[in-house]
């Protein structure tokens, strides 16, 4: 019986082997990966960034990604297309720089963690409070930064963390942050609390936990901190800003697919907005309240 079976088995084995070696992935690990920082000096001439030369997802249209729900003060009313909110405004300013009218811009919802993953994207760039980090730069491209960000600790009036004034005061508290964010990294690297941080799928969940007293304090970026404490929490309170974990200023950048042909042009657009003062203007317009929080030591 086993003799009769061995020939078909051998045939199956050989065909399986052939199948496996035939399934080689689209190979691009031969091409040198971009290990330098995202802000490469634009070696392309401005012609390469002409609107009709840009290789976007859809010809003649710009597809921009952001999360759903989209939070204030970065967006307003969870509607990125209305141009209100700092990031919505910056996105449309960049689009205009690249030669796209407001009507040529389409928005697609993209989950925060999904955007940072390696792999092809369904957008031209994503604007969603992404901090530029070395690890992330291994797998995605970033444009020039459009905002300098600080991590901020917020709490409620009744919480045990309400009276904290130094980083040491926070070590014994239960802190929380969204998974995969630089806020979480800041907790672990800058504060290094004695009990593990609580990690949530979204800031919405974290806010509820904070209100319930299930965590003592939450870490988010500064503008978000101001918005949450002013508009969303009952009796919200800002404890203070955290120093950056690596010593370099943390910055937000637009996110693009790794080695995207658009990276240089988009960076140039952001640089232009910075040099002509548009970024400052928009920050004044949308993020003015986000100032004056104490810096924790």
């Amino acid at each position: 019986m086993s003799r009769r079976m061995s020939r078909p088995v051998l045939a199956a084995v050989l065909s399986l082997a052939a199948l496996v070696s035939a399934c080689s992935p689209a190979d691009d690990d031969e091409t040198a990966s971009d290990t330098t920082s995202a802000t490469t000096s634009p070696s392309t001439s401005s012609d390469a960034c002409a609107t009709d030369a840009l290789q976007t997802q859809t010809d003649g249209k710009l597809t921009i990604g952001t999360d759903k729900p989209a939070y204030e003060p970065w967006f307003v009313d969870d509607d990125p297309a209305n141009g209100k909110g700092y990031e919505s405004a910056v996105a449309y300013a960049v689009a205009e720089e690249l030669g796209y009218a407001k009507t040529d811009v389409t928005w697609v919802p993209v989950k925060f963690d999904a955007a940072i993953q390696p792999g092809p994207k369904n957008f031209d760039f994503d604007i969603n409070q992404f901090s530029i980090t070395e690890e992330r730069q291994q797998v995605v491209d970033f444009s020039s930064p459009y905002y300098d960000v600080t991590q901020t600790v917020i709490t409620t009036g009744e919480s045990k963390a309400a009276t904290a004034t130094t980083i040491a005061d926070l070590k014994g508290r239960k802190l929380g942050a969204q998974v995969g964010t630089t806020s979480l990294a800041a907790i672990n690297e800058v504060i290094a609390p004695s009990s593990d941080a609580a990690v949530f799928n979204s800031n919405d969940d974290a806010k509820i936990a904070l209100e319930n007293g299930q965590i003592d304090a939450l870490v988010v970026d500064l503008p978000t901190a101001f918005f949450i404490t002013a508009a969303e929490l009952d009796n919200g309170k800002i404890v203070g800003q955290l120093p950056p974990s690596t010593g370099d200023q943390e910055q937000f950048g637009l996110l693009l697919d790794k080695d995207s042909p658009l990276t240089d042009c988009v960076s140039m657009a952001v640089d232009a907005l910075r040099s002509d003062g548009t970024l400052d203007e928009l920050q004044q317009q949308w993020l003015a309240q986000a100032a004056g929080a104490p810096v924790l030591k």
């Binding site: 070696s21 399934c23 390696p118 291994q138 995969g180 593990d196 969940d205």
Partner: protein, 288 residues
């Protein structure tokens, strides 16, 4: 019946030859089976390792060094899974049995009890576990009741227990109803009360019958325990996720997955052993 103590009678030549032939053929079969298995594995293994995509797959999913690095984090998370699992399993068994017994009460006077038990199983089998976790884990503390804890692990365990005892109650009920009514008749005829009949005759047989289904639910629960992480507690999967989010290497997920599989195997074998022991004791299956 025990075998007779006398020696087997001397075999005829024909029978000896037959047995020798069968033995030889059995040896040959096992040799061929062993060899072909080894060859098969070697060929497939080599084909996989030599394929062009392999180095990337290996580094993305099977980075042994990184796996070792994240193992302590994932194990710490797994410890939470285990603690919650064991406590939940016990509570679910008890609560499930109570509800099943309530649903199988006879007599019109017990209608309210049966109704409540049925409503319970309908409700908690219907509500998605995630929703219940949010409702209990975040909603209950929001009510600010003095005597109720806000600890997410406790609340999460409560949600898990409520849900799974509904499923387990139905499994027990099926077991109870599968015990032949003649068993009850015999027990009642001996003068046993309803409660004594349930406790000594019906439930022992019911539980034995549904052991495989119970094990199934137990293994499923091992995974659902991890959902508690949406409330902020860090379990094995969340620990893996945190690492993956930083490194963009999926090895931590593979590590966590393997740990879960390792967790599931002993429970399966344990239940098999218990089942087999009960069967061997009770039934004269013989060589069939």
């Amino acid at each position: 019946m025990t075998a007779p103590a006398e020696a087997f009678p001397q075999l005829s030549l024909v029978e000896q030859e037959r047995r020798a032939y069968r033995r030889g053929r059995a040896h040959r079969s096992s040799l061929v089976a062993g060899a072909s298995t080894v060859i098969f594995l070697a060929v497939v293994g080599t084909a996989i390792v030599l394929s062009p995509g392999w180095p990337r797959v290996k580094s993305q999913f099977l980075d042994v060094g990184y796996g070792w690095e994240v193992l302590p984090d994932v194990l710490r998370g797994l410890w939470l899974n285990l603690r919650v699992l064991l406590i939940s399993a016990l509570l679910v068994l008890v609560l499930g049995l109570v509800i099943a017994s309530a649903r199988t009460l006879r007599g019109p006077v017990f209608f309210p009890v049966r109704f409540l038990a049925a409503a319970y199983t309908d409700l908690f089998r219907g509500i998605p576990l995630i929703i219940l976790l949010y409702l209990i884990g975040f909603g209950v503390p929001g009510l600010r009741l003095e005597f109720v804890t806000t600890n997410v692990v406790v609340l999460g365990t409560a949600a898990l227990v409520l849900t799974y005892s509904a499923y387990v109650a139905e499994v027990f009920r099926a077991g109870i109803e599968s015990v032949h009514p003649s068993q009850r008749a015999a027990a009642r005829s001996l003068g046993l009360s309803y409660g004594q009949t349930m406790r000594r005759i019906v439930l022992p047989q019911a539980v034995r019958r549904v052991q495989p289904a119970l094990l199934n639910d137990f293994v499923a629960m091992q995974k659902d325990v991890g959902l508690i992480s949406i409330l902020g507690a860090t379990d094995a999967v969340r620990a893996a996720q945190i690492n993956v989010a930083q490194s963009f290497n999926f090895t931590p997920y593979v590590v966590a997955g393997l740990l879960f599989v390792l967790l599931a195997i002993p429970s399966a074998r344990l239940a098999d052993w218990v089942q087999l022991r009960a069967i061997r004791r009770q039934q004269a299956g013989g060589a069939a």
